[in-house]
Structure formats: structure tokens, C-alpha cells
Subunit: 144 residues, 2 copies
């Protein structure tokens, strides 16, 4: 089907991970990564990351039913996730040593490193649910 050019997208706003123990996950994201929640309830902890992205931690199994919001607010459809998902966080090259030191100080192992052809470095580690997290320095992609 021919169709006109799509409207612009400003970016990925929300990235969702699913966790088995919200308190354990929060301890990691807030103590090790230093994130501060902008919303929290039993189902969801939402963190701002940089100027225009949000990392959402959902309690696994708590999002499998439609949420009917009050009044005319509408509904949030079900979603859920399993498996060790992947998420990369953008860090300046000058900040990578500080992040590695911070992981070490908190006993978080670096699982692997990659050195990309354009000059970027990736450092991989796991969150308490086994999700594969990555610190990625610039030049990994045209967008970073």
C-alpha cells in the first residue's frame, strides 16, 4: 500500500523490563545505577533516564489484565515479559570508568566488553532478574 511519509517519531520514550521482586530490583536500579523514581506503585516503578527516556520496571504477572483507569481516562491493555531481556544505557566515554568503578564497588560483575569498529565501547552486566544491561559509549550507532 502506498502511503504518505510517516509523521516523525521523537524517540523511544518507554522501555519496559519485568521483574520478579520489585524491592530487589529497586535496590539495584536506585543504589547501583542511582536512578530516582518519578512514579511508584505495587505494579510499576518508573525512572527518568537522561532528558527524554523512561525505564519502567513492571512486577512480572501484575500487568496481564487490562487496567481500567478512573472516569474517562481510558484503559491500559495487558502486556508481560519473560526471559533475560536486553537494554542499553548511553553513557559518555569519560563517564565509563566511573560506571565501571561503581559496578565494582557494588559487587556487580562485568560479564563482557565489546570494542566496536567506530570507536564505541560496550560494558555488559546483569540486573538481579538476569536482564542484560549495557553501558554504551558514543559512536555505537549513528544516533549515539
Amino acid at each position: 500500500m502506498d502511503s504518505p511519509a510517516p509523521p516523525p517519531l521523537a524517540g523511544v520514550l518507554e522501555t519496559a523490563l519485568y521483574v520478579d521482586d520489585m524491592a530487589r530490583a529497586r535496590a539495584f536500579y536506585e543504589t547501583v545505577l542511582g536512578l530516582a523514581p518519578m512514579f511508584e506503585d505495587a505494579r510499576l516503578t518508573a525512572y527518568p533516564v537522561g532528558p527524554r527516556s523512561a525505564l519502567l520496571l513492571f512486577l512480572r504477572g501484575a500487568t496481564t489484565e487490562t487496567v481500567h483507569l478512573p472516569g474517562d481516562m481510558g484503559e491500559i491493555p495487558p502486556h508481560d515479559g519473560a526471559g533475560p531481556l536486553h537494554c542499553a544505557l548511553a553513557v559518555a566515554e569519560a563517564d565509563l570508568p566511573g560506571w565501571e568503578a561503581r559496578l565494582a564497588a557494588h559487587g556487580v560483575a562485568v560479564e563482557a566488553r565489546t570494542h566496536w569498529p567506530r570507536g564505541s565501547t560496550s560494558v555488559y552486566f546483569r540486573d538481579p532478574d538476569g536482564h542484560l544491561m549495557e553501558f554504551a559509549t558514543p559512536k555505537l550507532w549513528p544516533v549515539w
Copy 2:
């Protein structure tokens, strides 16, 4: 453990979804959402979204082994995912009608809408793997 303030994070760089049929998924993300790959192989299609985020489609099951990169490049640890994951895309309020028209033109149903207290609107739809996608207009979060 006390520790100094963490270095900054520039944002979530990579958001990963896992798909059962890469050709089917690509048809959706490229034809309906109008994304253009910046990398593609049998395992991964990577799309830039806005100025500083990337949406990664991984073929489900193709990322469960460590990838050993050539030479001294290093390794990419395993990850994988199941379930209808969630991902939100930031769109300007003025662009939301155009996006809704584009979904309709391609036969993609809007599953729900939410009207948030601060003035944002969310429009929810599914990709071919059942992932819950969202167009979110500004004022949903302090970061958008």
C-alpha cells in the same frame, strides 16, 4: 554501602523486542511505522528512532548463545525474551492524528486510548508479535 554520586546517564539507548518472524516484523516496522534500518542481519534489525534512541528487533532464539566477535572486539552475552512486551514511542501532539490515520490505513487496530491527568494522550496498538506499542504525546512524564 555509601558511594559517591553516580556519573550521568544520557538516556536509554537501545530497547529490544524479540520477534518470531523477522520478515513479518520488518514489514510492520518499516511499512507501518516507516522506520529505516541502520543495521540488519539474520539475528538483528536495528532502527534509529528520533535523535538518540534505537529500537532493536532480535529474532527470538537467535541470541541465546554468547556472540564471539572477530579479533579483539570482545563478546556479546546472551539474552532473549518472550511475552507481549511493552514499548512507548514519543510523538508530538500535532502528529498523533497522522499516526492514527496511518495505523487505520494499514489495518492496524487501536486497542485502547488513555487520557492522562497532565494532558497527554496514549494510543495503544500491537505489532505482529503481540508486543504492546504505544504512541505517547508530551506531558506523560516529566521527561516528555
